[in-house]
Symmetry: C2
Subunit: 349 residues, 2 copies
DNA sequence: GGAATTGCCGGAAACGCTTCCGAATGGTTC
DNA sequence: GAACCATTCGGAAGCGTTTCCGGCAATTCC
């Protein structure tokens, strides 16, 4: 009977508590707690003594309990539309890494388009469990976000879907600049009739990238033909359709700018289906520079977004907010950069 | 001063507690708790009354506190080598979905190859915070896993790296069968000299797939030339190198079986670099059937692994274990199936 | 009509931790 | 040698839940 208790390999049934450690070390639980949290008022040898016991038993504090009493759980909620995705994956990964370094963890909450629930789900899901949240491409409206903020819940938006509201911490990419670079690249190659497969209408990323696209064309003195812009849902099949639509125009473009890699690859497939060679007959540029860009043939010229970095930035912003530090730059835009590969070339003359 | 308290939009500073709800509804906290947990012994109108207040304030229970008192946090730890990955992404996604349905959440712990830490990190990270864990492709040895199990910590292994130890819950794919199908497909097309780009040496998946590969060849009466097997690290660049090695043989293969999509795509690139057409000059088969298989040209023939399903299975197994239900089938193997696309064809005669 | 049963609810302990407060000790200072 | 300060530590109150136990009222049964 007593055997179960005298098993030294697995010292405690279930899990050791701070009290067990305190008893073993011959101190009070308060002292153990102080040691564990690196508080200053502990004598060096007491500290060492406690640490020894802690190490010997592989003890680690129960985060739930800590959260209850100190208000900090070390857990951060993170919502995103999709986990298994070449675009969101790296962001998530960057955030997870950055948090891991701070000994914090991510609680995943894929949104799965269930924005229908009565009250703002993100807040009800997280509060009390997490210290804050990172919202990637949130579906919540600016008003809903402001509501959340008024509840004093710390959060940051990464890659906003709508133009980011004032006063809300937010990290985005320099969409317009990237789109401008991409377009200028095509212009320099000699293209003048350039089609665009835009993203979903009214999304921040779509609008900003359109801005950059238009600006570059304007800079080259080209008047944009509205026929040359087709909206999409950011996904491959729609990219293929959009490309077909563009290529069926009476005066088809010699280059297509896809507003993300998915639709650009869709366009690539459309070109293939028509027997057009890329970049011989048609140049194609993507956006995001996901893993996919390197895999297709020809490799895709694309605008690199620092995805993982955006995740990391989101974390560091959030941490500052949680810790109540003054955050002077609530909004932050990370630079984008064109990566030229094999899918772009001069137009056939 | 008092204004902050009389803001009705945001009823409670910080967060409402179960006690607030109890007061508002004119019942005890015990009753509120019962309502919240769907306990039977509450009068219907009392229940409705409480629910009304709960809804009105968007209240949700503090999971940390619940965890403390009931021993269940509703959080599941999940470790995996990589988050942003065409292979692990869908698994993670499947697991997240399945948990979400049960109103549980995932706590992410990417392993990042830091297996060096003193004590088994996974156990110290999770215990007390989570109710159990899903270990995807864990680096832990069978002994370490058994140790964990002896601590009564509920966990399941998904996609084991080593042959799964006895008595540990585990979900895998039918590697051998899939590899056999793929090989037979090539044989039926008329290939007799088939190269294999295997995975990392000694991995369970590698060994099992080799088994299937060999079995199919043996079935066709073909003696395997050891030169035709090259190991890899599962990644694309190594796949390209391996393919080059195979194609440089004095009697090169007419088909290559890549043990995952990455190396198969690497082989595709190698073929392209040599000016070989696929499948004209060289047939290529992959494994896993990730998103990537559909994107490359030609589209890759690949063995489908039900990745998301594996994640979901892992969850349902784990839940059963946590709830103490009898689990008769601790090991479970999900079937794999060849998906024929454009990268395979008869050999040039 | 009293006793036993049932349905519903409240009080209170417990979960593992942090932190405030105050006590004890030993050393300084005048 | 008394008064004071700094250092180090323990006691105990709480954090928001769940759940056991017991109590009250309304039934039901003989």
């Amino acid at each position: 009977m007593a055997q179960a208790d005298t098993q030294f390999d697995v010292p405690f049934r279930g899990r050791a508590t701070i009290r067990d450690i305190a008893d073993l070390a011959g101190v009070s639980i308060a002292t153990v707690s102080r040691v564990l949290n690196d508080r200053p008022d502990v004598a060096p040898d007491t500290r060492e003594n406690v640490l020894q016991v802690v190490r010997a038993h592989g003890f680690s504090t129960n985060r739930g309990a800590r959260g209850l009493s100190s208000g900090r759980t070390g857990l951060i909620g993170l919502t995103l539309p999709l986990v298994a995705d070449a675009y969101f994956g790296p962001m998530l990964s960057g955030a997870a890494e950055a948090l891991h370094e701070r000994d914090m963890r991510i609680v995943l909450a894929p949104t799965l388009h269930e924005h229908d629930r009565e009250v703002s789900l993100l807040e009800r899901l997280m509060r009390g469990t997490t210290d804050g949240a990172i919202l990637m491409l949130p579906e919540e409206s600016a008003d809903e976000l402001r509501m959340l903020q008024r509840q004093q819940f710390p959060f940051v938006v990464v890659d906003p879907r709508e133009p980011p509201p004032e006063g809300i911490a937010c990290v985005a990419a320099m969409h317009a600049s990237g789109a401008k670079q991409a377009t200028e690249h095509l212009l320099e190659l000699g293209h003048s009739r350039i089609g665009a497969i835009a993203g979903a209408p009214r999304w921040y990323a779509t609008e900003e990238r359109l801005l950059g696209f238009r600006a570059a064309l304007a800079g080259a003195g080209i008047l944009l033909d509205p026929e040359l812009i087709v909206y999409s849902d950011w996904r491959m099949p729609r990219g293929t359709e959009a490309a077909e639509q563009l290529l069926s125009l009476s005066d088809p473009p010699t280059a297509i700018f896809g507003f993300n890699d998915n639709v650009a690859i869709g366009a690539l497939h459309a070109a293939g289906a028509r027997g057009l060679s890329v970049p011989g007959d048609l140049s194609i540029v993507g956006f995001d520079d996901t893993e996919l860009a390197m895999i297709v043939t020809p490799q895709l010229t694309s605008v690199r977004q620092p995805l993982a970095e955006m995740g990391r930035m989101g974390v560091s912003l959030l941490i500052r907010i949680i810790e109540g530090q003054r955050v002077d730059a609530l909004r932050m835009e990370l630079s984008t950069k064109l990566v030229v590969r094999a899918s772009t070339g001069p137009p056939r003359t």
